[in-house]
């Protein structure tokens, strides 16, 4: 019976995901970036990137109980890997204006020579995976010494790593690869993604980042609901008991850390895609804190929560509260008060209120399906129905 239920749940989830992607694709065509609602597209783009970053951090902090603050570092690795391998050859020299670039091939360009548009898309996908892999390999190397540490110590060590990575990438000696402290640009970015169907050009600039985030988050959900996800939670709840029940702590912590970093790398690459630039200076520890804030606001240990948290965070800071910086907000004209920086004051107060009233974040440890289940009052079916 359980089996049947979970199958039905899987179908519902699949249909919901497809409907969501269809909606985003439609919005991408209907709304022009210059429209009044154009901000919605930007929120969707950035929000989905941050949602992916937050969910991947949640996998580590919320599900495995490893308090790590190295996320910005892994995102940086992903962003740079992606950017370096997708800058077209003809743009190389203008981007690396002070250095002689070493990496002199662009994966999408190479593939597009043989396969056209499909090759470009494949190239972008390969570059994305490469971005994740570089972050994952680095996570493995960092994890070997660092994962022996616990709680705060782990947080400090990973934070230190992220800062070191940022400094190294700005080092002028590495300029031929990283372009020093200058930014990387002109690589494959969302504003260039178009789909040509019978002469009409369809915009993909919002659809692509949302698609990447959706697929990645789906993968994380699958991992979390698998036997490995349960083992991660066991480690979070009680390490000693987990070890006594045959769960290899070192191995599982490493698995979680590497998986989380892989998706952080993909998120970093997608962020570069959305922002059209990659610059080490953007990946400060403040970015890690922002992501952590989204996780905490949404609910530590809830993937739905992380997604909602990051969407709300991005929407509020980029869109809804904009007026507070530029003079008029909700029809109130107060240029004297609503000036640069006032937005942040209001934003901080909102965050404090949310944290006060939702002690465990917006979602707590619940997921989206749990909400429906409770409404139907289908007995305490628990987690097992989620396969």
């Amino acid at each position: 019976m359980t089996q049947k239920k979970s199958k039905k749940g899987a179908w519902i989830a699949l249909i919901a995901v497809l409907a969501w992607l269809g909606l985003v694709f439609a919005l991408d065509q209907l709304i022009k970036p210059t429209d009044k609602l154009g901000m919605l597209l930007i929120v969707l783009q950035k929000g989905s990137v941050y949602a992916l970053a937050a969910v991947s951090m949640n996998l580590l902090n919320g599900y495995t109980g490893l308090f790590s603050l190295g996320h910005a570092g892994f995102m940086l690795l992903g962003a740079y890997t992606y950017a370096i391998f997708t800058i077209p050859d003809k743009n190389r020299d203008t981007v690396y204006q002070y250095f002689h670039a070493v990496v002199r091939f662009s994966i999408p360009e190479k593939l597009s020579q043989g396969m056209g548009g499909f090759g470009t898309a494949l190239g972008v996908l390969i570059a994305l995976l490469l971005a994740g892999l570089v972050a994952a390999v680095m996570a493995y190397l960092i994890g070997l010494p660092v994962l022996r540490l616990k709680s705060d110590y782990l947080a400090i060590a990973t934070l230190g790593f992220a800062e070191i990575i940022r400094a190294v990438f700005q080092w002028s000696k590495l300029g031929p690869v990283t372009n020093g402290s200058n930014l990387l640009k002109n690589f494959a970015r969302v504003s260039k993604f178009k789909l040509e169907l019978g002469g009409t050009k369809l915009s993909l600039s919002t659809f692509v980042p949302v698609l990447i985030a959706t697929v990645s988050i789906t993968l994380i959900v699958l991992i979390v609901n698998s036997t490995y996800g349960r083992a991660f939670k066991a480690i979070r709840d009680d390490e000693v008991a987990a070890e006594a029940m045959g769960i290899n702590l070192a191995k599982h912590k490493m698995l979680s850390f590497v998986t989380s970093s892989f998706f952080a790398g993909v998120a970093g690459a997608t962020l570069a895609m959305v922002l059209s630039i990659a610059q080490a200076n953007n990946f400060k520890s403040a970015m890690t804190y922002e992501i952590l804030l989204m996780v905490v606001l949404g609910g530590i240990g809830s993937i739905t929560g992380s997604v909602i948290g990051s969407m709300l965070f991005v929407a509020a800071s980029e869109w809804w509260l904009r007026g507070l910086d530029s003079g008029s907000f909700l029809g109130i004209e107060a240029p004297g008060v609503f000036r640069n920086g006032f937005r942040l004051v209001v934003f901080s107060i909102i965050i404090m209120i949310v944290v006060l009233f939702f002690r465990k974040g917006i979602m707590g440890e619940k997921e989206l399906p749990d909400l429906f289940r409770r409404k139907k009052k289908a007995a305490p079916a628990g987690k097992e129905a989620a396969e």
Partner: protein, 285 residues
């Protein structure tokens, strides 16, 4: 090293020292297949420390542990592999073999804890299901893409079966911590059994239970020994329970073993009466 009968566990001259404190001193123990063996002794006698050494939580200062005939833990004397020139072991090589608890669990040891350590945020069902993780054959990818459906279904069926054996089927979807104390203890035992052990180590399974619950537990322990064919080593303070079900008893005091024998022998042992039992008048039933 294993001669005579089929030995499940053999502890050989184990010493566990924390700084200047010798928690367990030159402790030896043997458990044969199908036996229920108890370790008793006053508080602070080193019983739980001995457990922690056997299950790999602590690496002993000295000594060896054999499990199913294989040497699984060895510190002889502690240190890297090198030839010894002095002392009683001159001419031999020192060894260290310090497995982590999970490795020993895979070999077939499973334990419960003195102060119940269930996974608090999870249901009764999930608590047992996670213990099945150790016996998986899937890797992260096959598990994520549900390549392990068959295994997962089999595991779930096994968990259901285990739940019905320990009588927790009706509460399987409740949070582990919402159960009454006695049921939490049962759940912990069920969780240990889910790892398919050949040796089950119970650390004070009756702690905090009333006489009636203790009696039920006594029956329950005997039942799981017969049903699952496990050998049981337990630490307990409830003498009724210990005398009732143990085949043999080891008595620890201040880290030293002061007596060993059948329940009847132990009850008459002067040293044990002095150190632990006190005047025995109502321990008969």
């Amino acid at each position: 090293m294993s001669e005579e009968k089929k030995q499940v566990l053999k502890v050989e001259n184990v010493t566990m020292q924390f700084g200047g404190v010798v928690a367990v001193n030159n402790f030896s123990l043997e458990v044969n297949e199908g036996e229920i063996v108890a370790i008793i002794g006053p508080n602070g006698a080193g019983k739980t420390t001995a457990f922690n050494v056997i299950t790999g939580v602590y690496a002993p200062t000295n000594g060896r542990v054999f499990f199913n005939g294989d040497c699984v833990i060895e510190n002889f004397p502690r240190g890297k592999m090198k030839k010894l020139y002095k002392g009683e072991n001159a001419g031999l090589y020192s060894h260290t073999l310090e497995p982590t608890p999970d490795a020993l669990t895979l070999k077939g040891m499973a334990r419960t804890f003195q102060n119940i350590r269930l996974w608090k945020s999870m249901t009764v069902f999930d608590n047992i299901l996670i213990a099945k993780h150790a016996r998986r054959t899937s890797n992260l990818f096959s598990a994520a893409f549900r390549g392990n459906r068959k295994e997962e279904a089999a595991q779930r069926a096994e968990v259901e079966e285990l739940l019905s054996v320990v009588g927790l089927t009706d509460v399987k979807n409740e949070l582990a911590t919402s159960l009454p104390y006695g049921k939490q203890r049962r759940l912990e035992i069920a969780r240990a059994l889910a790892t398919k052990p050949s040796l089950l180590l119970l650390d004070e399974p009756a702690a905090g239970m009333n006489p009636q619950e203790t009696q039920e537990l006594t029956r329950f322990i005997g039942q799981i020994r017969d049903q699952f064919g496990v050998t049981i080593l337990l630490i307990e303070h409830h003498m009724d329970l210990v005398m009732d079900i143990s085949d043999r008893i080891y008595v620890l005091d201040f880290g030293r073993m002061i007596a060993e024998g059948t329940p009847a022998e132990i009850q008459k042992n002067e040293k044990v009466i002095d150190a632990y039992l006190g005047v025995v008048d109502d321990a008969e039933d």
